[in-house]
Amino acid sequence: MADYTKYTKQEMQAYAIAKSIKENQIVIVGTGLPLIGASLAKRAVCPSCHPIVESGLMDCSPVEVPRSVGDNRFMAHCAVQWPNVRFVGFEANEWLHDEDRLIAFIGGAQIDPYGNVNSTCIFGKGDYVKPQTRFTGSGGANGIATFCNTVIMMQHQKRRFMDHVDYITSCGWMDGPGGRERAGLPGNRGPQMVVTDLGIMKFDEETKRMYLAYYYPFSSPEMVQENTGFEIDITRAELMEGPDPEIIRLIREEIDPGQAFIKVPKEK
């Protein structure tokens, strides 16, 4: 009999993602952890949500875990197969109509205290034209971060949480209150949360700076501060309980049985 009472950091992160999705929300997912989290939400935590992907596939309910946002696994099991430009128009119109239904998950390599995210490159000793490390680039993230409230997925490491990122691929709250408006971006949209393997960060309503909202049963506020490259308020932090065994069973047996995105350690 498999043991579902123990869970990994990644499974906790997927659960935290699922918990962040609210009733009837339209959820923009990519592949990887956010997809597992959204699948979990759709099946157990919040079945009324509607997952959509940036390629233009709307209300997806894949049977097998897709590898890319344009995967046939999404395409064959969705409500509408729109081209990407319709997706862009839809997210922009949601903002123009002042709807508050969209929530989007994006990832990144570096993040600053205001939730500005870099997924383009790390300069190192070089610069943008010849960087030390190059990533994929924007993909859909910049457009999503323009028009939608976002949840940012990160690995919690000091070198990733820094005062200034080399390159802002997806705008967060810029330099604080009013920053988005000054840049020409919708001011009533922006990052809501950062979900990491150590906890959940939110942004202060006044200052727009990141603070620790929740830590996990296996982490602590001190651990979060140690692994954050800037001063972070940990005084408001609460403990988030871990998932029930049934949730872990769902992830392992039904959502990602091939362990495409969540590796399960072998039982001893």
Binding site: T31, E54, S55, G56, L57, V63, E64, P66, R67, S68, V69, G70, D71, N72, R73, M75, A76, Q81, W82, P83, N84, V85, F87, V88, A92, N118, T120, C121, G126, Y128, V129, K130, P131, Q132, T133, R134, F135, T136, G137, S138, G139, G140, N142, G143, I144, T146, F147, Y167, I168, T169, S170, C171, M174, G179, R180, A183, G184, L185, P186, A260
Partner: protein
Amino acid sequence: MANKVMSLHDAVEKYVQDNDVLCFGGFTTNRKPYAAVYEILRQGKTGFVGWSGPAGGDWDMLIGEGRIRAYINCYTANSGYTNVARRFRAAIEKGELVYEDYSQDVLMLQLHAASLGLPYLPVRMMQGSGLVKFWGISEEQRRTMEGVDNLKCVEIENPLEPGEKLLAVPVPKLDCAIIHVQQASPDGTCIIEGDEFHDIDIAIAAKRTIVTCEEIVSDEYIRRDPTKTRIFGECVNAVVRAPYGAWPSQCYNYYDDDDKALKEYNLASMYLDEEDAKAQLQKAADKAAKAAAAKPEDEKLAAASEKAAQAAKDAADGTKVPETFKDYLQKYVYGCKDQDDLLNVLGGARLMNLKNEPHLGYSTRH
């Protein structure tokens, strides 16, 4: 009606020209016109300005082979197999690729604007980000480059809503578009099943459009149900029958991606060629040795160092050199004279196992 059917060789020879502004249809690992990419590689065509869209191995191969003059990009990866396309990444980190980054949503709108014949495009996206701040190709350079717009973007005020900040971006002027579709008829009419992506946009926008397809059907047959046809034949210059022409990417209702090939490419594309493999393995061995020496009591580091040293030695003396990017291309591109030859290399059983399972929309047999 016009008969535009020709061989892949002739279509690429006639309609793809050196230095073209070039764009492909498809989305990362879905309906990418790989057969045409292989033929471009075989014919040695080069000097392209690429508007890549959501790119995968298609553009990575052209970059690795040095065929790109300027790469206008928003995302390059075989998603789910390679996090960042490896020849793309290596070329940028070595400073060997002239490139520009856009937001994917903006780039797709630019291609759409091209299909609409718009003069330029105002957007809200990209503002405040590095996408505006950093230019891969300077204005000075741009003015000297044929086929590259003079400016990446311009900050403007909405002329109809004074005070609103916007960004103006150029509309691409495509010389050549290549798309792979499920069915086409000799006059160029196309049926695309599943998501069209930006394929229709670029087929309209480009001066020359090549369509490769799984099946050629008659002009009469394709008109039996015009709700299914998506591209007007007059936008198309060449129609090429290329079964499995999107391999190793997917083709909706026809076949799934070939995970074996995409995994093979992921590993092979780590090394440009034999010399690069040897150098990289030696570098890895030196690094592992240094790490092990710093912590002599750590058994894991010692074992890793030994393993890395062995791999470097085996590569150096030729005992075991890992497959490289060049080897992969030799096997599936240069070593095959055409698409039929490639399908024979892959073999019947392998291709049959990729076939779509109608009740699922993908394959579970590979």
